[in-house]
Symmetry: C2
Subunit: 391 residues, 2 copies
């Protein structure tokens, strides 16, 4: 078999549900040579990264670090550490990733209660209070930004509510972190996981997690060892705290990436970053509406960083996405699970939440819809976006 | 808190037990922009990577792919898939990583038998036959290149032996792959895991694994689900086979790295690569002996890529390693577990198995030993190495 040639990935603009384009400064950081994972210089890099991660998450939690694997590993890390076989847990399911939580929790032996809402909707406080009253679970898990539906779950008051029932609040912030407000301590979140390839504009490969002192206490009270050695937070904490006790070899280059992604985030300022995501979302949304498209999530609960819109009747989902990719190098996401073939998911995350990216996807999408015979007011989309940017 | 400055890792030559220096072409590949993890272009990159991985491992196993996490995750993946709670397993322990296997297996619920040898030694076929006869385990696990002792375990005849007893052979090749001969199919190895940051000269972050049809059959016959969702090979196989069914977001940039690391390995040729590791080891060894140092592993079982030598009496372990790092940017490994403070581990792995690296560490080590008051014949080490290279 002849060897494959030099790596030569095609030009892409990644506007799906993630990964999103990597910031050039992150790629630059990743080109730096390795230092050893126990080198004093690397320990300092770990400290800096953890410090910035806490700042970016608005938390003082000492136990804040990136799991050495992708976002789904962060989900599993949180669940297998908080849950012992037989522990009661509530999973709030309103999309694909809520279902995923339920599946991973079942494997961890949780006595699971699923609280469900139709895809695209969000939960309100009363529903959550009801289930807490009835079940009194050890853990309640909910997705902040549901990647499959584009729905934005309010979570600021959930921690306080959960604590009334002595329940730990676990939040999936995979698609939220770095795009929309997230304040772990003020919102009393006990455990959270995210990823590196969305709001952080790094490649996939790390999953930032954080555990509150309350969550850590629950972990320390476990009667059984965590099933997974790789994801055991009691071991990992000694690698990521002052001991720096050898556990596994940290993915050094990915830590370089995360450090740079966090620097970019904090240089910009968190509020400025959230505002930027909102502004580009407003421009995109005005334009998509001008194209006759509608959001699958309810008004007021639409994620700025992930715009899930219904595919117009008669339009060939795959043909449009193939044309976007082939003619313009643009990737947008198709639907997942219940929404397969029904929605497109347009991500504007981190580095990619920029006016030039918005104008590009609109111009390209207009052409693709026209090719499908959709009657549109030519140029109306770009004009609508420009009105938002103009004033 | 002021933000940390631009990433500026110090100059290093990584001659410990791993990570080893990343090949410049791998860093170049990692600087390429992302494509989506379900992009047709990425699926092709996955195919190419798997094809080369099979070639490099001398195997036809369809189920050959990199786990999206570090080498220790590969160990856990193999164990939690092959073992159901109550299954009999033998762990061959002759160093730190054999112990690690025992620990992970216990967490997976294995009915574990530990077969032990003193650190630095290896097992012979008779011992293995005895334990197989007595225990008749489902799985026997052994470390090919024991990173903690530098001992090289012969494994070519173990698969055949295990299969006489209907036992699956699991081999830890973390420090072996890419440095010493490894032929999965000819040696009838049923499952193996490795890492990216040693013989492959990539950053840490991936763990190549491979499962024989026999191992896959055992996995398919499981009565219980694998505890871990992230490491479940039945799910992962559909992501890495022709289905490309979404499981998690592959660490795209790390796959770029692995692809380039494998290209480098196959361009060079496996036999040429193994010969290169042997030649540089011979030069290093002749020189270390000229310096009066002795190997901790027995003659005939010393790994070319990881030279574990006893620290001479009266020499300050930490002072020497600190001077190597501070004055020359050279990292060598200290001892682990039973060998803490007793050995140095000098790695010559992948890209770093080069004459200029050998000459550098020898010249530096000579100076460090002299600073410790060790009487040495100045220049003798470099001269001994040069004699090996000269003819």
């Amino acid at each position: 078999m002849p060897l494959p040639g030099q790596l030569n990935p095609p030009y892409r603009v990644l506007l799906g549900p993630g990964p999103s384009d990597v910031h050039p400064r992150v790629l630059g950081a990743m080109a730096m040579p390795l230092v050893g994972h126990l080198d004093p210089a690397f320990l300092e890099i770990m400290n800096e990264t953890q410090g910035m991660l806490r700042q970016a998450l608005h938390t003082q939690n000492p136990l804040t670090f990136p799991v050495s694997a992708t976002g789904m590993a962060g989900m599993e890390t949180c669940i297998v550490n908080l849950i012992e076989p037989g522990d009661k847990m509530v999973a709030c399911v309103k999309g694909y990733f809520g279902q995923r939580i339920a599946e991973v929790a079942t494997r961890a032996g949780a006595a699971l209660t699923k609280l469900e809402r139709p895809w695209g909707e969000v939960f309100d406080l009363n529903q959550i209070r009801d289930v807490l009253t009835k079940v009194r679970p050890k853990v309640l898990a909910i997705v902040h930004a549901e990647t499959s539906t584009g729905a934005w779950q309010p979570i600021e008051d959930l921690g306080k509510l959960c604590h009334e029932f002595d329940t730990l609040l676990l939040v999936d912030t995979v698609t939220a972190f770095g795009c929309v407000p997230l304040k772990l301590d003020a919102w009393q979140i006990d455990a959270m996981y995210s990823c590196s390839q969305k709001g952080l504009s790094c490649p996939p490969g790390l999953s930032p997690v954080s555990f509150s002192p309350r969550a850590l206490e629950a972990i320390q009270k476990r009667k059984t060892k965590v099933q997974s050695w790789y994801f055991d937070v009691t071991l990992l904490s000694h690698y990521w705290d002052a001991d720096r006790f050898y556990h596994h070899t940290a993915p050094i280059t990915m830590i370089y990436a995360l450090r740079e992604g966090l620097r970019l985030m904090l240089e910009e300022g968190l509020q400025a970053r959230w505002d930027r995501h909102l502004r580009n979302h407003r421009a995109l949304k005005a334009a998509l509406i001008a194209l006759g498209l509608t959001y699958s999530a309810a008004e007021g609960h639409q994620l700025p960083q992930l715009n899930a819109v219904r595919i117009p009747a008669g339009v060939d989902d795959l043909a449009v996405r193939k044309k976007l990719l082939a003619d313009f190098g643009i990737e947008v996401g198709g639907g997942l699970g219940d929404f397969k073939g029904k929605v497109w998911r347009i991500g504007l995350m981190g580095y990619n939440s920029r006016p030039n990216v918005v104008l590009l996807i609109l111009a390209a999408l207009e052409q693709c819809l026209q090719a499908q015979g959709v009657k549109i007011n030519a140029g109306a989309a770009v004009a609508a976006a420009n009105r938002v940017y103009g004033g």
